[in-house]
Every structure is written in structure tokens, then in C-alpha cells.
């Protein structure tokens, strides 16, 4: 029996879709059978980030409304051998084209065939969000170190708890350690202090993300990317492994290392 995980945030632009694409790919890399569902009907993106846009024939609405069979709606990722699939959102419909009950039923069916079902939630707290969380066993809340994003994450956690999705876990995205060190950005402790949820992982700001999203190749496939490594670690933590958080301190150079060696570091 698989696990349904919804990736949500409230605020837009914090990296829900990037997170969904990368965690899905990383979980598949780790040998799981994974399906990604784009629940952002009308504003689909996940297919682009995954590089599968040109393969969409049927979408989520076609599946839930019975236009096609579930099998036909699942787009196979060419990089993986039958272990990673995408169920794309409809672009010409809107959020009301699917009901929470239909999503729940869909998740139940997918659970029988897959290890992980990742749902990419739209921004906002309305119908699209309600659809996305309805079938989920667990929620991952993505936030960035900005007050507005943390505020929205707090709201979302409240709504998740009210909907009976207990113990959501947090992913902090786009952390810039140089700014944190200077005290110009919220640090991890500030955020955990307010949100009071389990921290699943921290993803550093990384230029590779922009490049890889545009190329349609999730950054976890890039061995040189720090963000990719962070996502791979998060995927392993989802599978129950205990992996310590990455350290994001900037390279400090020889002098800094010497200083640290002699214990003069602040």
C-alpha cells in the first residue's frame, strides 16, 4: 500500500512544483514506484519542469471524469524504467472540474499500484488546495525564509490540522546562508519557533534549479547541485532514513579554515 503525500505552501512561488518534481524523481531514483499528480488545474507546470509537456494526451480531469482509463492518463517518464509517472493537470478547465471526493478515490486506486503518490498543490487555500489535500496521508509544507511565506505556511498548517492531516512536515526552500549569517534573512530556528512542526529538510538557493527547470530535468539528476543533494536527502528521509541536515556555510577559504582550526571562529 502506497503513501499519498501532498506538497503545499499557501503562498505561490516558494517552490512547490520544483519540490514535487525533485522529490518524485529522487524517490524513483531510490527504487520506488512513484506517481506525481499535478493538482494545479488551469495553471499546470509540473509537466514542464519534468520535461514531459509534449507527451500529455489525457489529464487529471479526463481520468476523474471517466473520459479515459487511469492507465491512459499516466505519462511515463522516459528516464526511468516504469517507475516514475506523471498525471498532468488539465489546462483548459478550472479547479471545480474535480471534487475532493474524486481526488480521494483516485488516490485510493493509485495507492494499490505505487509506493509514493506525490500531489503538487496549487497556491491558495480554496478549492484547488482542498482537492489536493483530500486524499493525502501526509502533508509537506514548503516555505521560504520570508515572513510572508512563513505566515502563509502557518495558515496552511492550521488548515491541514483542521482537515485532520496531522503532523505536517516542513521543507525550507531557497535558503541563502550568506544572508542568514549576516542576519538579513530569517534563520531556520526563527521559522521552526513560529511554525512548531517537524523540519524535514532545508534546500539552499541554487542557480542549477533555474537551468534544470527550463530544461525539464529535475536537479536531483545533477550530481553537482547542492539543491539536488538536499532533495535527495529529503527523499531518503521520507523513506525513513536518518540523514543529518546539510551544512550550508559558505566556503570560508584557507584563512577562515585556519581560523576555525585554531578556534577563533565566531
Amino acid at each position: 500500500m502506497g503513501r499519498v503525500i501532498v506538497i503545499t505552501s499557501g503562498k505561490g512561488g516558494v517552490g512547490k512544483t520544483t519540490t514535487a518534481a525533485n522529490l518524485g524523481t529522487a524517490l524513483a531514483l531510490l527504487g520506488n514506484k512513484v506517481v506525481l499528480i499535478d493538482a494545479d488545474i488551469g495553471l499546470r507546470n509540473l509537466d514542464v519542469v519534468m520535461g514531459l509537456e509534449n507527451r500529455i494526451v489525457y489529464d487529471l480531469v479526463d481520468v476523474t471524469s471517466g473520459v479515459c482509463r487511469l492507465r491512459q492518463g499516466l505519462i511515463k517518464d522516459k528516464r526511468f524504467n516504469d517507475t516514475l509517472f506523471l498525471l498532468a493537470a488539465a489546462q483548459t478547465k478550472d479547479k471545480t472540474a474535480v471534487s475532493p471526493e474524486q481526488m480521494e478515490e483516485l488516490c485510493q486506486r493509485l495507492k494499490k499500484k505505487f509506493d509514493y503518490i506525490l500531489i503538487d498543490s496549487p497556491a491558495g487555500i480554496e478549492r484547488g488546495f482542498q482537492n489536493a489535500i483530500s486524499g493525502a496521508d501526509q502533508a509537506l509544507v514548503v516555505t521560504t525564509p520570508e515572513i510572508s511565506a512563513v505566515r502563509d505556511a502557518d495558515r496552511i498548517i492550521g488548515l491541514l490540522e483542521a482537515a485532520g492531516k496531522e503532523n505536517p512536515e516542513l521543507i525550507i526552500n531557497r535558503l541563502r546562508s550568506s544572508l542568514v549569517q549576516k542576519g538579513d534573512m530569517m534563520d531556520i530556528d526563527d521559522m521552526i519557533d513560529i511554525l512548531a512542526v517537524q523540519l524535514l529538510g532545508v534546500v539552499p538557493e541554487d542557480d542549477h534549479i533555474v537551468v534544470s527547470s527550463n530544461k525539464g530535468e529535475p536537479v536531483v539528476l545533477d550530481p553537482d547541485s547542492k539543491a539536488g543533494m538536499a532533495f535527495r536527502n529529503i527523499a531518503a528521509r521520507i523513506m525513513g532514513e536518518e540523514i543529518p541536515l546539510l551544512s550550508f556555510n559558505e566556503e570560508v577559504g584557507l584563512f577562515g579554515r585556519l581560523r576555525r582550526f585554531f578556534g577563533w571562529a565566531q
Binding site: R151, D154, G158, A162
Partner: protein, 271 residues
């Protein structure tokens, strides 16, 4: 598609729940429960009237309905009506209306600058606070055993104790005192019904805005270091004072010993 057994309508005086004249009571109950669930954030603590149309309704049925509405989302049934005319025939059902978690009802005066939600009545001219001793006897205290997150709101006629934090974007509005056993970062309004003796205490007092009775204050625009000790806010001569929590006992003792308490109140309100 058949007509739904229950329809919610917004009118000038508030929300009206229109019951289908022919639908069976069980159907109404089911439909209502579903609607309450889907619109729960919107309906929380709302004041509603029930439109019966030509439907016959026994007092028992009415009472059951009132209970359903109140138990689910703390809705307050203000009355029944037939064809938009208020009727008194089922007022009996309202007698035991007062739900345990009474939100601050409109009968209480409140800050003129309070947000539109719920508390809209202006301060009545006689808006003099009850004495601290008087209030303690009659009003109960609501305990909230979790953190209030952004967008969550608690309104209660008595005092409120929160075992957890109050996050930015959350609000607590109480007729009496507010005590937060964690960090208060959101908005707190104590003495919302005009009680100027109300206070707000918190383990960490860092509210975005504080209101006591009709006085309100906000956090400074520039970030200031906040002492990490319990603090308490209360009204003194029409201004909100923030003090270390541990001096509170002293203040209360001295105010209890003040024989001219009533006069003092008069003077405070006179400004």
C-alpha cells in the same frame, strides 16, 4: 438535480438559512451538516436566522436544529422567520440557546476601530467596565489547548487562556482577560465588551496589535529587542502599559485596597 434541502442566504441582517418546505427533517439535517462542514471557516461563530416558509416545526425539532447549528460551528441562532417575517412561536428553542462557547455577542460594546468581523456595535455611552470582582463571578474561562495559527480566531465572552502560542495573523478576542502560556505574536483584544480592568498576559508578549477595551496599540515599526520574560499589558489612565508579569500581584493588591475604585473608574472613562 433536485433542489438542496438547505440554502444559505446573506441578507441585510445577517445569514438566513432557508429550509426546503417539503424536504424531510433527516434530509435537512444531513444537508445542513454537509454545508456546515464545507463552509466552516466562513460560518464560524456566525449569527443566523432560520427561514421556515410554510413548514410546520415542533418546538422539539426546532431545539434539535438549534443545537446542531451551535454544536458544529458555534453558530448563533438569532430567531426563526416565515416568509421573511420574524416569528416568536419557536422562541422556546432559543431559551437554552446560550452555547458553552459563547462568542462575544453584539450586546457588548467594543473598540470603535475593531475589525468589522463580528464585533460591530459601537461603544454605548454608558460603557463603563464592570468591576474586576464582579466579572470574576459571572464569566467563565475558555482554555485553548493548542497554538492558534494564522487565520484562526477565538472569540469568547469570558476570559481566554491559551496553552500554546498565538501566531501572527491569529486573533483572540475576549470579554475578559487573555493569558497566553506561550508567545503572543498575533492580535489580542481583552475586555472587548468594554471592561477596562482586563489584561493581557503572555510568556512572550510580542503582539502585532494589542487592544484593551476601546484602547489599542501596535508594535513599533522598527524591530526592537523583546525581553524574554513574561509580561502583562493593562490599562492605566487610558493608556496601555506593558509591565513585567511579576509586578502584577502588587498592582492588583493595591487596586483591591483602593476604597474609591468606582470613582477612579469614572474618572478614567471621562477623558
Amino acid at each position: 438535480m433536485t433542489r438542496p434541502a438547505v440554502v444559505f442566504k446573506g441578507t441585510m441582517d445577517g445569514l438566513v438559512i432557508v429550509l426546503d418546505e417539503e424536504a424531510a427533517l433527516a434530509e435537512i439535517r444531513e444537508c445542513l451538516a454537509e454545508k456546515l462542514e464545507t463552509a466552516r471557516h466562513f460560518l464560524q461563530g456566525a449569527r443566523v436566522y432560520v427561514e421556515l416558509g410554510k413548514r410546520e416545526f415542533s418546538p422539539k425539532e426546532a431545539e434539535e436544529l438549534v443545537q446542531l447549528l451551535q454544536s458544529r460551528r458555534g453558530l448563533q441562532v438569532m430567531g426563526f422567520q416565515r416568509n421573511k417575517q420574524r416569528v416568536k412561536e419557536l422562541a422556546g428553542a432559543m431559551a437554552n440557546e446560550a452555547p458553552k462557547e459563547t462568542r462575544c455577542k453584539g450586546n457588548g460594546p467594543t473598540a470603535p476601530k475593531a475589525k468589522g468581523k463580528g464585533l460591530q456595535q459601537p461603544l454605548p455611552p454608558t460603557g463603563r467596565g464592570k468591576s474586576r470582582q464582579g466579572r470574576k463571578k459571572e464569566d467563565k474561562t475558555l482554555f485553548i489547548h493548542h497554538t492558534l495559527r494564522s487565520g484562526q480566531s477565538v472569540r469568547y465572552r469570558g476570559s481566554v487562556v491559551i496553552i500554546g502560542d498565538v501566531n501572527p495573523g491569529a486573533e483572540v478576542i475576549a470579554g475578559g482577560d487573555i493569558v497566553v502560556m506561550g508567545t503572543l505574536r498575533g492580535m489580542a483584544h481583552a475586555g472587548a465588551a468594554g471592561d477596562i480592568t482586563s489584561l493581557v498576559a503572555a510568556q512572550g508578549l510580542q503582539p502585532t496589535q494589542l487592544r484593551i477595551a476601546d484602547v489599542f496599540t501596535r508594535s513599533p515599526d522598527e524591530a526592537t529587542p523583546v525581553p524574554e520574560i513574561p509580561e502583562v499589558a493593562y490599562l492605566q489612565e487610558g493608556t496601555i502599559i506593558i509591565d513585567r508579569y511579576f509586578t502584577l500581584g502588587e498592582r492588583l493588591r493595591s487596586s483591591a485596597a483602593d476604597p474609591n475604585e468606582d470613582e477612579r473608574e469614572e474618572w478614567q472613562w471621562a477623558e
